[in-house]
């Protein structure tokens, strides 16, 4: 069943809190995957996604969604921003304890291992460079779509991609071969 999320969003803007449920229901799977790939672990992905949905709800309630972009695209941008913020905070204040995810019952062990490998591989990158690389290489977005999600020009995105790839190559050549499976 297809739901016109713009109509649902209009109901949320009119004060119907419950109307936000179909929005979460229809977008949670791709956005959970996006957040997990951007931040590299499920616990942080869940936090970032919860924050992103709260921000989106506030924006809808306060009439800050102008309806120009599709709801899915708009949410994609909000989740990307939330994840980049979380990556920045993680660089400034590395967490001492590892937290457990709460909504990961459907996630296979293989995917968890792959996420850990991704996080180790991209750890040294700047948050914006890392996000650019994940959006284009892992999520498969075009340069235009990725630039929109990151709120930058296509030229700036290209620079971030070049920096990220160079950093990855340097890391590989330097022999930092850990894959996070230890």
């Amino acid at each position: 069943m297809s739901v016109d999320l713009r109509l649902v969003a209009a109901r949320v803007a009119g004060g119907d809190v419950a109307a936000f449920r179909p929005i979460v229901d229809h977008t949670r799977v791709p956005l959970y995957r996006l957040a997990a790939r951007l931040v590299g672990n499920l616990a942080d992905a869940e936090d970032a996604l919860q924050d992103a949905y709260s921000s989106a709800f506030r924006a809808l309630s306060e009439g800050r969604y102008d309806g120009r972009a599709k709801i899915e695209t708009w949410l994609y941008r909000i989740v990307t921003n939330a994840c980049v913020d979380l990556l920045r905070k993680r660089r400034e204040r590395p967490a001492e304890d590892t937290r457990e995810p709460r909504f990961d019952g459907l996630v296979r062990a293989e995917a968890r291992v792959a996420l850990t490998e991704l996080d180790v591989m991209l750890k040294a990158l700047q948050p914006q460079d890392r996000a650019a690389l994940v959006l284009v290489t892992v999520e498969g977005l075009s340069a235009k779509e990725a630039a929109e999600a990151l709120g930058c020009s296509e030229g700036a995105l290209e620079q971030r991609l070049v920096r990220a790839r160079a950093a990855l190559r340097t890391k590989t050549e330097a022999g930092e071969v850990s894959d996070g499976r230890a």
């Binding site: 419950a18 959970y32 909504f103 990961d104």
Partner: protein, 128 residues
Amino acid sequence: MAEREQDPLLNLAALARATDDLRPTDELTDAVLLAIVPPDDRLARITKETLDLAPSEAFVSSVMGAIGAASGARPGEPAWSSGVVRFGRFALIGAAAAAVLGLWLSRTAETGYDSVVLESVASVEVYE
């Protein structure tokens, strides 16, 4: 011991024997293979392995709970009467005002009618 310290060749032979059974674990092979795989190929594999990531159903309820708590509203279905209640007060006030107006009009008309009738009766009596 002293003899070995004096003879570097003997010392080397002893060190060689001591390091004869150095063996890496199997992880070294994995690490080498990972290192020679180009980063883009690794990312492509990780992409495939994380394709079916999805949160459990409970995630939706958790988000709705957080939003409901933040907005001060209960995140459930709106009551069928929510719209009725909003406009019901105005309807009641309007109905009460109409009733009062109707009563006042009726009493005024009755009073006016009575006085006209009484005047007519008095004038008939005077004539007679």
